[in-house]
């Protein structure tokens, strides 16, 4: 969510902005966080942040450049870093001034416990997260390390207490002589430690552990407060100028409603250190323009701060970019904010080839290309989009997309099931069946895999393990990688094993059985089933993600309840996940990326756009075609792929069309299309395109270019190049034979009476690249062809066709 700060901030005086974006001279408005400081007990601390907002809403952390003065220095003390420390009970005021503007906040110090005991949960456990001890590659791993096991990122303090105090015959602590305790000597490297020195002797964490040991190493009493939620301020910050820094403040709210500054306790991690670095104390430093997330983590909770780095704000010379619809408004507003100028609109020839490939998975024919390019109808693009959305090839392309998502044909002996499932999907797409209805039908399915298309949806593991089904449903429809929580609580998200097994419990009665030879099976509901929690060893009740429990009544199929919950317009996951997928299919990158990895610590790159797309999707009855139409008609989708100096490094904000390699099926079908020689796929009728094959990879090119023959494991297609691919196009008999074939398109063209070389060259370019040759290209070809006849002339044009099919312009959709 983007703060529209400039709309609401009151500007006190005019602003002068230097070229580096730093505010000089008369300044804007100061705001402080928190608005009021309340501290409990002597020694309690609170980081204060002073933010300067200018007339355009740019915010800057000026804490360390402000003058901070406490009225009553007996009550509290303020440091230049913004840290306020409690000295004695009372109230006072912290006066803040920067560049002629003044503000302030109240400071109240309340009495704490007379001797403030260190809390194991609040003070000690976070140390092990912050200093890396409880990370997944050390003591927090599933098996611990060197015999010492801590809970991953501190989500189970009671286990941690046991591990420290009791495990290994209590050898880790020495209450009689605390400084000799291993729990102190190891992380300070006073004895050999595989993890090295994590903090210094005498440092804050060292002293905290020591003090805790000295006071008896007690566990918090039953009912003592636990961390209820973690928050970070600011949640989002645009930093203008690479020399700027921003301090983050982490606040913890405990189960007793108390608030505590946890900045010194949490672990801060930058998701992309090439853009932003963050210190152990939460100071963010800009490295390069871009955007990323800072993960803030402690006691099993994680939140995120989104940081955007811009070298300088967009000035008066930033162009006004027209908008075709709401999508453009969100995209271009974000680009303006990052001071990145979008590319121009794509040329007709690029748009033409792109839209055919993206919507239909095929190339335009030479005639279709020529017609479109020569038309002067100002609405020709919108009309073409409409025409393509109604073509049957669109259904094949979507069916192949869903085949990957739903893992059609899992366990290859189910080819028959894959075929009828594919046909059902295809039919649903042609009817533009509302997606909520489509998914509901899948969720309540059962029956014979060979005769009941939708039953195949559940067949993603041999024994229909409910955990495997939960993983599948979560990834496909919730956009959440819940499987991390199968074995341990999620490292970066709030999901726990309770959530995983609670979701699995919706599918506890599902099972499969052979009914006939040849792998014919039924997916059916047993009379009873249960899912056992691996820790509690008790059966788990079905539980909605981020929601409550649901108990299955007798005679009821609880999957129906699940389907209703999932596909409701209010469900926070369903519409967003699919809207993000549809977006990603055309723009090549999800607003949340990866598309099945929605989490607090992986926020959308444009939250406003994602929300708008979801609302649009719901509003139009979950019609996929309607959302496609809106996306394709946006200017953002139709931008050229040619980068300009401003947007060359953008990879997340859609400043241009991102190049993408043709998929394996698109490539296979394109080769057939341009050569006019079909590829016979074993077991399929002549004329079948690769995009129409539900399952398997019945030809070498398909596997070489990334189609997965057997969807045994859920995985993304790979688009990266390999020697095998290049060799196949370069030397492969398949391509060369098709190009040279007597019955092929090229041979027929060459045999056309009176056809001249110029026209021939045009045709070959139009067929492959949907454009006419440039002057240089045409001249080169003509030069080779002039004076040749018969076989020699044939060779010239065969070579041309080979060249164009091997060109990057052919292979990379632009």
């Amino acid at each position: 969510m983007m703060r529209r700060a400039w709309g609401t901030a009151a500007v006190l005086v005019a602003v002068v902005v230097s070229s580096s974006g730093v505010l000089k001279g008369e300044t804007g408005q100061l705001s402080v966080f928190p608005e009021k400081v309340v501290l409990f007990g002597q020694g309690a601390r609170q980081h204060v942040l002073v933010t300067l907002k200018d007339s355009r809403g740019s915010a800057q952390d000026v804490t360390t450049r402000s003058r901070l003065v406490i009225d009553d220095t007996a009550v509290a003390q303020a440091e230049g870093t913004g840290l306020v420390r409690a000295l004695a009970p009372g109230t006072t005021r912290l006066n803040i001034s920067y560049g002629g503007i003044a503000t302030g906040l109240d400071v109240e110090v309340r009495p704490g416990e007379s001797s403030r005991q260190l809390s194991f949960v609040k003070d000690i456990v976070p140390i092990f997260t912050k200093f890396g001890c409880a990370g997944s590659n050390c003591h927090g791993s599933v098996r611990g390390k060197a015999g010492f096991k801590l809970s991953l990122f501190g989500y189970e303090p009671d286990l941690d207490y046991d591990a420290i105090l009791n495990a290994g015959d209590g050898r880790r602590v020495n209450l009689g002589d605390p400084e000799t305790s291993l729990i102190l000597k190891k992380p300070t490297s006073q004895v050999p430690h595989g993890g090295g020195k994590r903090f210094e002797n005498g440092s804050l964490p060292y002293n905290a552990i020591l003090e805790w040991l000295r006071s008896g190493a007690k566990y918090d009493s039953a009912g003592s407060p636990r961390l209820a939620s973690l928050s970070v301020f600011p949640e989002e910050r645009w930093i203008i100028g690479l020399q700027q820094t921003q301090q983050l403040v982490a606040m913890g709210r405990y189960t007793d409603a108390s608030l505590e500054d946890m900045t010194d306790k949490v672990q801060f991690t930058s998701n992309d250190e090439s853009v932003v670095e963050v210190t152990r104390g939460g100071l963010v430093k800009a490295i390069a323009p871009g955007e990323t997330t800072i993960m803030v983590r402690s006691l099993g909770q994680a939140v995120a701060a989104r940081i955007f780095i811009v070298t300088s704000a967009a000035g008066v010379d930033y162009p006004t970019v027209p908008a075709n619809n709401y999508i453009d408004r969100y995209i271009f507003e974000k680009l303006r904010r990052t001071n990145v100028v979008p590319s121009e609109i794509a040329s007709d020839q690029h748009f033409l080839r792109r839209i055919y490939l993206d919507v239909l998975g095929i190339l335009p024919s030479a005639d279709e290309a020529a017609t479109f390019l020569s038309s002067s109808d100002p609405d020709k693009r919108a009309k073409l989009i409409e025409a393509l959305l109604s073509r049957p090839e669109r259904a094949d392309a979507w069916a192949t997309y869903f085949a990957d998502l739903f893992r059609l044909g899992f366990n290859k002996s189910r080819d028959k099931g894959a075929k009828i499932f594919y046909d059902w999907i295809r039919k649903s797409v042609i009817e533009d069946k509302p997606y909520d209805r489509m998914v509901s039908e899948l969720l309540v399915s059962q029956g014979n895999l060979f005769y009941e298309p939708t039953a195949n949806f559940y067949f993603v593991s041999r024994k229909l393990d409910p955990g495997d089904v939960a993983t599948h449903v979560s990834q496909a429809f919730l956009g959440v990688r819940i499987e991390c929580a199968r074995c341990h609580n999620h490292p970066w998200e709030k999901y726990t094993q309770d959530d995983f097994y609670g979701l699995a419990a919706f599918f506890k009665r599902l099972d499969t059985k052979f009914v006939h030879a040849g792998s014919e099976s039924n997916v059916y509901l047993k009379d009873e089933g249960e899912v056992i929690h691996p820790k509690t060893k008790k059966p788990v009740e079905p539980k909605y993600l981020d929601g409550g429990h649901e108990r299955e009544q007798a005679g009821q199929d609880i999957r129906q309840n699940f389907a209703r919950w999932l596909t409701s317009a209010e469900n926070p996951f369903f519409a967003r996940t699919m809207a993000n997928r549809i977006w990603r299919r055309y723009l090549d990158r999800g607003i949340v990326e990866p598309a099945d990895d929605f989490r607090v610590t992986n926020p959308p790159s444009n939250a406003g756009l994602l929300d708008a797309l979801s609302r649009d999707f719901v509003k139009h009855g979950f019609s996929i075609k309607s959302l496609e139409r809106t996306i394709l008609n946006s200017r953002a989708y139709q931008l050229s792929s040619l980068p300009n100096d401003s947007n060359r490094h953008d990879t997340v904000n859609y400043s241009r069309y991102y190049l993408r390699r043709m998929s394996a099926e698109q490539l296979m079908d394109a080769i057939v299309q341009v050569t006019g020689v079909e590829e016979r796929f074993t077991g399929w009728a002549p004329g079948t395109r690769a995009m129409q094959i539900p399952h398997g990879a019945p030809t070498y090119l398909l596997t070489a270019f990334g189609r997965v023959a057997d969807r045994e494991f859920a995985q993304e297609r790979k688009e990266d190049p390999s020697i095998t691919q290049i060799l196949h196009l370069m030397n492969g008999d398949m391509l060369n034979n098709k190009i040279q074939a007597r019955e092929g398109t090229l041979a027929k063209l060459l045999r056309t009476p009176l056809i001249d070389n110029s026209h021939l060259a045009d045709q070959v370019f139009l067929m492959t690249l949907a454009r006419y040759p440039t002057q240089v290209e045409k001249e080169t070809v003509i030069k080779s062809a002039t004076g040749t006849s018969g076989t020699a002339r044939d060779h010239v044009f065969q070579d041309l066709m080979w060249v164009l099919v091997n060109s990057k312009e052919f292979l990379y959709n632009h």
Binding site: F131, R481, E712, F713, A714, D720, S722, I726, N731, E777
Partner: protein, 424 residues
């Protein structure tokens, strides 16, 4: 998707954002023990799961319905016996180690194969790269030939690259026993000679040059470098030589056996000789999965072929002085049930199975571990697959504890086990 810094980067070198000096020292110390050695690997995958009781772990004293109908024979190492249908293999027992106590819990082909080739159980959050792919990535190719080759081709995705780039997936050769064997796509196509190919490449440069401006991510440069590698592969005499199995003397081809497995083993030797780091050989996907008529299949065809191929390979490597620098691993993805089923076959059995290792410092004439009297459970010294994989990485000089990250940021170590001391 365009090539970009898409991986979740959690800190530069470690989750903690910096390396303590003691961390540096630890890494240095570990590096010293994994100094690169120039070992190549031939991995013979008996896909489908070879029966251990009928081959390398005979149980002549078990009940009739368990021990099967084969008899054990002595090998050239006192105290070690193998199946009567492996006579040639018996004569080179002084060159290999048999592990009789391999064990895991996966009785499904795909999961077991995945485990045996990567050392990891398949989980939803990571698709692990196979041994060969990791070796290709960590050590790279020695020359124009690919680092990782699969003969005749992958038996499944478990031989592939998983989450690491596709370029580390194996190069596939096709079946070298085919009389018309020629590796696909590495020779110029019909009717196209080098003159014509050069002309094509020249025009291709022209067409590509205009379009180059459209690439912001550098992917075109990557493709160019692949094209250069591909070109070198095709143009290099080494390529033709390495794959030219027809250049082998007739009697050598006969000695290995005119079978897919035999010619595959021979081609593997040739490829390793010419610098390839990792070669898998199989005679096809799930061919050893003898749920029915196991004795007939093994006696009539499978064991004679295996016997000939494996013994030939060992002798050949030995005579050429290649055994010290070539690790030979031979295994199925699991063993087979100790009790013969109603179809005179055996079914899947991961609880205990056998694996054979030779070369690269592996002790010869050795048996490690023991199964119980009917070959059903491990009796002594169980060996986890993860430990075997760690051993193999260590042998070729790769840090088996090195961490990769999956595409959703889930870290994993190359091997979750530890090297087996008796194999080092």
């Amino acid at each position: 998707m365009i090539d970009r810094r898409a991986f979740l980067k959690i800190g530069s070198l470690s989750v903690f954002g910096s390396l303590a000096w003691s961390d540096v020292l630890t890494l240095r110390a570990r590096a010293a023990t994994v100094a690169p050695k120039d070992i190549s690997i031939i991995h013979i995958l008996l896909s489908g799961g070879i029966s251990h009781i009928d081959t390398f772990d005979m149980k002549p004293d078990a009940r009739a319905e368990f021990r099967g109908i084969f008899k054990p024979i002595s090998t050239n190492v006192p105290g070690i016996q193998v199946c009567e249908h492996l006579p040639m293999t018996a004569r080179v027992a002084d060159k290999y180690t048999i592990i009789r106590s391999m064990t895991h819990k996966n009785s499904v082909h795909e999961k077991a194969s995945y485990l045996v080739l990567s050392g990891h159980e398949p989980i939803a959050t990571v698709h692990h790269p196979s041994l060969g792919a990791v070796i290709a990535k960590e050590l790279g190719a020695r020359n124009e030939l690919p680092a990782y080759i699969s003969i005749p081709g992958m038996t499944g995705l478990w031989e592939g690259s998983g989450v690491i780039p596709a370029k580390f997936a194996p190069f596939e050769t096709g079946d070298p026993n085919n009389p018309k064997f020629s590796v696909r796509d590495i020779s110029l196509p019909m009717n196209v000679d080098w003159a014509r190919m050069n002309g094509r490449n020249s025009l291709l440069s022209l067409v590509d040059s205009e379009f180059r401006r459209y690439d912001a991510s550098g992917i075109f440069e990557t493709v160019d470098s692949f094209q250069k590698t591909a070109h070198d592969l095709v143009a290099s005499p080494l390529t033709k030589k390495a794959f030219a199995i027809q250049d082998e003397p007739e009697k050598v081809r006969e000695r290995y056996g005119r079978t897919s497995l035999g010619q595959g083993a021979l081609l593997a030797r040739r490829l390793v000789q010419n610098g390839v780091r990792f070669v898998t050989v199989s005679n096809g996907y799930y061919k050893w999965d003898h749920h029915a008529k196991v004795f007939e299949n093994l006696a009539d065809k499978y064991l004679p072929e295996l016997d000939r191929a494996f013994s030939a390979l060992i002798e050949d490597l030995d005579q050429r002085g290649m055994l010290a620098t070539t690790l030979v691993v031979m295994t199925g993805e699991f063993g087979r049930t100790p009790e013969v089923n109603v179809n005179a076959g055996r079914d899947h059995w991961p609880n205990v199975f056998s694996l054979v290792l030779a070369g690269a410092g592996v002790p010869g004439g050795h048996v490690w571990g023991e199964s119980d009297k009917e070959g059903a459970q491990v009796k002594d010294k169980p060996v986890e697959v993860a430990d075997l994989i760690a051993t193999i990485y260590q042998k070729v000089g790769i840090d088996y504890q090195k961490e990769y990250v999956s595409n959703i940021g889930r870290p994993f170590k190359l091997a979750d086990g530890k090297p087996l001391p008796f194999l080092s």
